[in-house]
Symmetry: C2
Subunit: 167 residues, 2 copies
Amino acid sequence: MRMSQGVEWGLHCCVALGWIGQGEVISTAKLAAKFGLPAAYLNKSLQALARAGVLVSSAGPRGGFRLARAPSKITLLEVVDAIEGPEAAFRCTEIRRTGDGASPASECKRPCAVAAAMRQAEVAWRNELSKQTIATVMASAPQAAADRAVQWFEITRSATPTSAAVS
Amino acid sequence: MRMSQGVEWGLHCCVALGWIGQGEVISTAKLAAKFGLPAAYLNKSLQALARAGVLVSSAGPRGGFRLARAPSKITLLEVVDAIEGPEAAFRCTEIRRTGDGASPASECKRPCAVAAAMRQAEVAWRNELSKQTIATVMASAPQAAADRAVQWFEITRSATPTSAAVS
DNA sequence: GACCGATTACTCGGATATGTCGTGTCCGAGTTCTACCGG
DNA sequence: CCGGTAGAACTCGGACACGACATATCCGAGTAATCGGTC
């Protein structure tokens, strides 16, 4: 049971976008450069977040991604579901109904006890994720990191991306 | 984030072993036949449970697996960890320290906020799993299923596995 | 100087290869039951 | 009739292929800024 790497990347990017400001746009290339990630693959995760309504994408020069709403209105559950997919980690294949000792359909009106127990634990997990938001994570991170991120993005913005000034 | 199929199989097998009785032994072949599963692969999962101390294995004719202790003393977390491995689903790769905008080591004394948040949710999940035991699941399943399982295993035990009686 | 249009460069977006882990299968080592032989 | 011994069959246990998903990458469609020309 390994979670996709994209979740970590997506969360860090959302936090960075929150620090920059809700209305500000950052391109995939900038985010990838900041964290040292493969830009093309990071783009894939950000696309998923845009499809889910967490981010908003804009094309062309000065384009990129921005938060769709305030950081306090974006839960971690949304980010995880957007990248990992909404399907539960534990999937019941109804083995109680298969094989020689299969239970008749009359006994299978309610979900099997094993699946119910696993689902209960997963609900607790999802509930905990829905309690925390991007704003919560931003608050628990050191202020110095936030300042550093804002400053770094400011610098890269002023620098012309096409060619470094020769002066 | 998909959980291994073996978790479902292992849980169902533990519940079945609990119904039969703590001291009773059932072979992999019998369990596989009851649930309609590939015996060789199911054996792999049961081996993992035996290594973790959840089950006890015995070789030779009349051999197989039995519960290592009372069903009320076996938590779902033990079963999940035995098969899935103890590593957490979310793994922090410390991307805050990599790339152009990397944070200095002085800021990384405590775990990064993203990892802490994800870990908190995962702790809630594991906590819920550790609350429930095989006995809990046994109690929430329909009694008819338990009776059916006990009866089915009794029948297959009396039948000689080598050759069916011709009479 | 201001407006308009074509160009250009940069962005996202999806389609395309590759690596790793879960899935499935096989055969060998060990142990217990059984049947046979001898006393 | 009882004990010992050799055989056989059944069990677990780990080593060996296959397939699916996550990972990684590339190229094309679209858009906004820019530059040049014209009024």
